[in-house]
Symmetry: C2
Subunit: 334 residues, 2 copies
DNA sequence: CTGAAAGCGCTAACAG
DNA sequence: CTGTTAGCGCTTTCAG
C-alpha cells in the first residue's frame, strides 16, 4: 500500500494531526518535530493523497473550464488563446485545470451543472455560453464561483469578462466606410451568442450614423463556421447589387468568405474588401492578410481566471463585470 | 448541506448500500426498489460526490496530460492537434482530462510523478518527453498506466505512440534531392528529443544514399522554436557555399527560416527550397505555402488515448508500442 | 435481493 | 505546541 500520513505519524511518534500541520503549514509545530517529520516524509517518499484532502477539506484547488465540444477542439485559435490565459494564471496560483467539453446542440448542455454538484471544482469558467442557456441563471443563483467569458448580462449575479464588441464592430465598419465603401454587407454568425448580437449592433450603428440603408439581403445569418460562411456567402456574391465590402463576425468566417470570392474570380480587396473579428493566428498569414478587429483573447482568459480565483478566495464578490478593449488591425484585405 | 446518498437511503427506507448499487448498476436490486430510489434521486436533484467516490473506489476516471509549459501553451498547433485527439477519445469513454503543464527547464520536471502519487489520475499521457528525463524510467517501472507521445524507447515497460520520423525525414530530403538539390542543410532542433534525433538520422541516411557529403556547417542545432531558428539560420545564409535547400525539423522553425531568407532578399523556393515537418495549420496559409512532412497528430493523440484506456482497464499490457505513418505534402516552398 | 461494518486518507474543531 | 474525536460521502466486503 501507499505511504500515508499515518505511517509518517507512527514513525515520528506524533499524531497524524501534527503531520498534517507540517504538510499545510497550518498551526504551530515545534521546529525540531517539524524537521523530523519532514525528513521522514522525504525518506518514505511521501506524497499527500489529494483526493482525500479534497474530500476532507471540501476544496479541490481545481477549476473547470467549460468549452464547446467542436469537431477539433483545440484547433480553434480563439479557444486556444483564451485557454492559454486561463491556464497561465491558474498555474501560478497552484490551481489545476479540468476541461469540460460540452455539446451545445445536445442534451448534455447542462452537464457542467452536474460537475458543479459533483464537487470536482472550486470554480468554473464558461466559454461561448449561449444566450438562451437556461442553466446559466441557475448557476448564477447558486452562489458557486464562476466567470463567463465573452458574455454579458446584467442580472444580479452574472459574472463576466467581455470585450467591447459593439465598439469593435463599429471600428470595422467605419473603417470600410472611410475606405469609400457604401455597400457593406455583414456575415453575422449565430444570433445565439451575445457577441454576435453586439457586433450586429455595431454594424447597424455605423450604417445609421452615415445614413446608409440597412438592407436585409446584405445580412447573412448562420453559425460561426468557416464552411457555412463559405457556402452562405454565395448569396451575397450572386446579388445583382453586390456589396463592395463584407464585415464578418469572426475571422474563420472571413477566411471562408475570401475563399468563395476567389472562386468567383473576384479579388480581395480590389473587388470586395473584407474585415474579420478576433485576430486569430492564421489571419496574419493568409492571402491577403486579414484586416480584423483584435479581441485581446489571451488577456480575456487571464482576466477571467484572476477574477474567478478572487471569487473563490472571497476577495471579490459577485457580480464581476469586466470589459476589455478591442482594436482594429489593418492588413491587406481592405 | 448537499444531498447525499444517506438522504436518499433514508427517504427510500433502504440502506445506503442499495442506493449505491442503483447508482452504479452494481449488484442486484429489486425493480420496484430501484425505480423508487431513482425517482427520489431525481426529486432531490441528487448528484454523486465524485471526490468521495474516488477516494473510496481508488479510481478517478480522470487522465492527466503532461504538456510542456511554454509561453503560450495552446497556441502550439502540434500540441493542439494531439490534445484534440486525446480528449475526443477520453470524452467518449467518460474520462475527464486534467492538464499538467510542466516546465521542462526547471525543477518541477518530475512533478508529474507527484501527481501520480497524489492519486488524482488513473493514467497519464506525456507529450514532448525529453530523452534524458530521469523520471521516465521510474514511471515505467511503477506499473502506473501511461503512454508517451512521440517518443520511442525499447526498454521493458516503455509505452509509446510515435510516428515514423526517420522515414518522414527521408521522404523530405529525398524530395529535395529529386528536385535537383545537392547542397541540403538541416535545421535540427533540440537533440534532447527523440524525434529530432530520428529526423537527423533520416537526413543523414539520404545524404549517404546519394553519396552527398555530410557537412557539419550545414547542420544547425537549437531548440524547437521559430525565433531561434530565425536567428540561427543566418549562419547558413552567410555561408560562402550557401545551401540551396533547407530541411527543418519542424514547421515553426521552417517559418522562421523563411522569414530570414526573405530578409536576405532571397526567394523561396527559387533561391532556397524549404521543407518543414509536422503539418501545422498555418503552413498551408503562409507564403509560400509550406512543403512539409505530415505527422498524423490528431491520430497520434487518439491512438495514445485509446492505448492508455486499454492499459487502465487492463485490456492491454505493457509495453505498448505503436508507430504511425508520415507522409510528404508538397506545396509551394520546394 | 438487502444490509452492516469498515475504511479510503485526510482535515476541522476543540481540548489540553 | 500537540493530541483526540469526528467526519467528509462513498464503496467494498462479507453476511444474511
Amino acid at each position: 500500500m501507499n505511504v500515508t500520513i499515518a505511517d509518517i505519524a507512527k514513525k515520528a511518534k506524533v499524531s497524524r494531526m501534527t503531520v498534517s500541520r507540517v504538510l499545510n503549514n497550518s498551526g504551530p509545530v515545534a521546529f525540531d518535530t517539524a524537521e523530523k517529520i519532514k525528513s521522514i516524509m522525504k525518506e518514505l517518499n511521501y506524497h499527500p493523497n489529494l483526493i482525500a484532502r479534497s474530500l476532507s477539506s471540501q476544496r479541490t484547488t481545481t477549476i473547470g473550464v467549460v468549452i464547446p465540444k467542436t469537431e477539433k477542439l483545440f484547433l480553434d485559435n480563439y479557444i486556444a488563446q483564451i485557454l492559454s490565459g486561463v491556464t497561465d494564471v491558474a498555474q501560478k496560483n497552484n490551481y489545476r485545470i479540468m476541461l469540460i467539453p460540452v455539446n451545445h446542440s445536445r442534451d448534455d448542455e447542462g452537464d457542467y451543472l452536474n460537475f458543479v454538484r459533483s464537487k470536482l471544482f472550486d470554480g468554473l469558467i464558461l466559454l461561448k455560453a449561449k444566450t438562451d442557456d437556461p442553466h446559466l441563471s441557475e448557476l448564477a443563483k447558486s452562489g458557486f464561483p464562476y466567470v463567463m467569458v465573452n458574455y454579458r448580462k446584467f442580472g444580479d449575479n452574472y459574472n463576466f469578462v467581455d470585450s467591447e464588441n459593439i465598439k469593435g464592430a463599429e471600428l470595422a465598419v467605419e473603417h470600410l466606410y472611410y475606405k469609400g465603401h457604401r455597400k457593406i454587407a455583414f456575415v453575422a454568425g449565430s444570433m445565439d451568442e451575445v457577441n454576435a448580437r453586439d457586433r450586429m449592433k455595431g454594424y447597424k450603428n455605423i450604417l445609421k450614423k452615415y445614413k446608409l440603408p440597412i438592407r436585409e439581403e446584405y445580412i447573412i445569418y448562420g453559425d460561426f463556421n468557416r464552411v457555412t460562411a463559405h457556402e452562405n456567402s454565395k448569396k451575397l456574391l450572386d446579388l445583382k447589387d453586390r456589396p463592395t465590402a463584407i464585415f464578418c463576425s469572426d475571422d474563420y468566417m472571413a477566411l471562408g468568405v475570401i475563399e468563395q470570392i476567389k472562386k468567383y474570380k473576384l479579388s480581395v480587396p480590389k473587388d470586395i474588401a473584407i474585415v474579420g473579428f478576433d485576430n486569430i493566428e492564421i489571419g496574419e498569414f493568409s492571402k491577403p492578410a486579414l484586416t480584423t478587429v483584435k479581441q485581446p483573447m489571451y488577456e480575456i482568459g487571464k482576466t477571467s481566471s484572476e477574477a474567478l480565483l478572487a471569487l473563490i478566495k472571497k476577495i471579490k464578490k459577485s457580480p464581476v463585470r469586466i470589459m476589455l478593449k478591442t482594436e482594429l488591425i489593418v492588413r491587406e484585405s481592405t
